[in-house]
Amino acid sequence: MANVYLIDKKFGNNSLRIAGQDKDAEIVLIQDGIYLDVKKIENSGNKVYAVKDDVEKRGYTEILSKNIELIDYGKLVDLILANKVVNFA
């Protein structure tokens, strides 16, 4: 079971610094959280997701790091229910 961090931009700094130390972290960027710089987290090997709808309406599909997996709400629900949720939104 992973620790799924749901992260919006407002709480981005606080949450990414903790998640970056957590080997069991999986990150889901939601809302303006998709603008966050998560290079350090990617390098730590932790999985990073972003909500597809949130990325697309912001015109960010081509700009977002290719290492970030875009997911729909169905997949987000699967992640939320199969893991422990750490809310930073």
Partner: protein, 117 residues
């Protein structure tokens, strides 16, 4: 089938949280999961039944009505409702209950995961 709890603290329109809350709840219901939502602070503005905005086909309250219809249990914080002048939710869409934080504590007890928005 699992149980999902959602704590929503912001109102319609102004911030995106209500949309994300709806989208997550809706996807969970479509997958056959149970959804229990607690409306806290400005979250209590979401189910006012008179929302009207000329350019939009659907109002926020319609989205919440859809969740109720699909079986979501939605409870609003009574202290927040009355503080905001919504008089026990007199103008709420059908199916929204007005309760208190012990209801949220109960949601935390019952669900598999909690999402806060």
């Amino acid at each position: 089938m699992a149980k999902l709890g959602i704590l929503l603290t912001l109102g319609p329109y102004q911030f995106e949280n209500w949309e994300t809350a709806y989208n997550i709840a809706n996807a969970a219901l479509d997958k056959g999961h149970e959804v229990q939502m607690f409306l806290y602070l400005d979250g209590v503005y979401n189910p006012i039944k008179y929302h009207t905005f000329p350019d939009w086909p659907e109002m926020p309250k319609d989205k919440f009505a859809e969740l109720v219809k699909k079986g979501a249990k939605i409870i609003a914080c009574g202290v927040c409702v009355n503080a905001r002048g919504l008089e026990k939710g007199k103008d709420y869409i059908d199916g929204i209950t007005v309760g208190g934080l012990p209801d949220f504590a109960q949601i935390v007890s019952e669900v598999d995961s909690v999402v806060k928005l």
